[in-house]
Amino acid sequence: MISLAGRDIMHGWGKFVFTGMGLGLLIGVTLSMAGIYRGMVDDAKVLMDNSSADLWVVQQDTLGPYAEPSSIFEDTWRGIAAMPGVARTANVTYLTMQVREGDRDVRAMVTGITPGEAGTPGWPPYLVAGRQITRSHYEAVADIASGFKLGDQLQIRRNLYEVVGLTRRMVSSGGDPMIFIPLKDAQEAQFLKDNDAIRQQRRRTAESPAFNRPGMPDLLDAVTASQSTNAYVNAVLVQLAPGTQPEEVAEMIRRWKRLTVYTRDQMGEILTGKLIATSSRQIFMFLVILSIVSTAIVAFIIYTLTLGKIREIAVLKLIGTRNRTIASMILQQSIALGTIGFVVGKITATLFMAPIFPKYVLLEPLDSAAGFGIVVFICILSSLIAIRAALRVDPAEAIGG
């Protein structure tokens, strides 16, 4: 038996292919949306993985350091490092801000890392160019997504930093590239004010009788000094010794340090379940809307194509063609249209949309396979209206005027 659907498609292939391409662009957008969601989840996981931490110690009753602000004393790490099962600890600060380089600025997550060596918690685990930070001040390692190059001079607050190393896929959960600088610089950057503001603050402090007491000249100096230094970090990252149960150590820190501690599983839940929850819901709604629009478009196209063949369908029915054959013809055309659309959409999403989209778009093969399955399902669903119309065609329409 010849393929009626195949012959019909080949007969008007131009119209069919162009229609499929139009549909493909819509499917491409849908696939890209799914890819954006996957990219967000991957960004969150990358952030967690790249920190090289097993535990995150943060301010009590906060979801820090990524989902909520967290502030703990900078010497907290000492007590934690001495606990059994802890291999390494490191302070870390995170600050999302605009980083300038010449005339342009880039939104980046500035990460303060403690002096040490590669493998220290918080440090970028690998570089694609240059070297790690070796000096205590004014050096930076930037992710290549920031667009910075080796040797560039970055301005963070009032200070300039030289880019000495480049990383890849070191991003925040929001997809902003990370820029690593020495911890002390990062602590300072968090609260560093301009000169006018500093002068103003000092004057106000000096005028306060509470700080400038007669006979206690050192008090004012101490207060002024404390105002210009930052003795806090956002979190302590902890690496555990092999064979240690994370929850046991976490419980110990919670108990003795009165701090909140998250294990990798818990942090993963915060990053993917809470931090990007709203974005996920938004993208899911977009996917639903796009799927409905795609269904409506495919249904409309197939219905229109079928209406254009009413006379032929009446003739086919009159000469004894089974309903099954006619339904199969429409169904096959619908699936063929969806397949063309999916191929065009996949190519569009992979080659054109993902590379230029300002966020990381992760197109997983399994998602593509599921996407194809959904497209086929949508096509089957969409063809039902046309099939119903075709099956209602009276073969008698072929007889008489």
Partner: protein, 236 residues
């Protein structure tokens, strides 16, 4: 192949019920022998199309009897379960316009029916080619319908009607869009094919040009058929 033509006895068709009922066919009696081509003529609203739909097993008559070949297919009710298969295997249709399937080439337009009946593609195409050769359009076998002239399209439509060797062919104004010369050519072909394949052909027509060519004519008026002898003139 069944070789006994078609016989219709006391066929009636009523649309609607009660006060709004309309008797489209009141008493139709016809008999067409294998190899015979008869005309069925009548004014608009006389019941021609309704009769054709009843004969084509597209609508169900209200009462009467239809015998196709040696099989009674209707006796106050359908006696055949699968009317679709009946249409496919035992009734050929030729329409006012050729109504060829635009996305199939000439051969496949003709071969489609035997394929639908479950015959192999090769056999179906071979049978189609035989008919196309008999109708002198074999040189357009690979052409698409849009590439054919009106006369060629109608010959392909005739081949499609004949391809399953049905005992009866219903031709619904097959010469309406054609000029006299081509209309007479179509009637000549129908007569040749009827004789060659021993098929009974009923031609519904208004066409004054071809009415004189029938040896027998059924007039239908107000749902009742009247038989009369035709002129049986030579074609062209």
């Amino acid at each position: 192949m069944i070789k006994k033509g078609i016989r219709i006895e006391g066929l009636r068709k009523r649309y609607g019920k009660g006060d709004t009922a309309v008797d489209a066919l009141k008493n139709v009696n016809m008999e067409v022998a294998p190899g015979e081509v008869v005309g069925l003529i009548g004014p608009s609203g006389s019941g021609k199309t309704t009769l054709l739909k009843c004969l084509g097993a597209v609508i169900e008559p209200t009462a009467g009897r239809m015998i196709l070949g040696d099989e009674t297919i209707y006796d106050d009710k359908w006696l055949v379960r699968d009317l679709r298969a009946l249409r496919r295997d035992k009734i050929g249709f030729i329409f006012q316009a050729p109504y060829l399937i635009p996305f199939l080439d000439v051969t496949d337009n003709v071969a489609l029916l035997p394929m639908l009946a479950g015959q192999r593609n090769g056999e179906s195409r071979q049978r189609a080619m035989e008919l196309l050769t008999a109708l002198d359009v074999q040189h357009r076998a690979q052409a698409m319908p849009s590439q054919l002239s009106g006369g060629e399209q109608q010959r392909v439509a005739i081949a499609r009607g004949l391809v399953n060797r049905p005992p009866v062919i219903l031709a619904d104004e097959p010469t309406a869009p054609l000029d006299t010369e081509r209309a007479l050519a179509v009637i000549r072909i129908l007569n040749d094919m009827a004789k060659r394949y021993e098929t009974a052909i009923i031609v519904v027509t208004h066409d004054e040009k071809i009415i004189p060519t029938f040896k027998r004519i059924y007039h239908i008026r107000d749902g009742v058929t009247y038989e009369e002898a035709g002129e049986g003139r030579e074609f062209g």
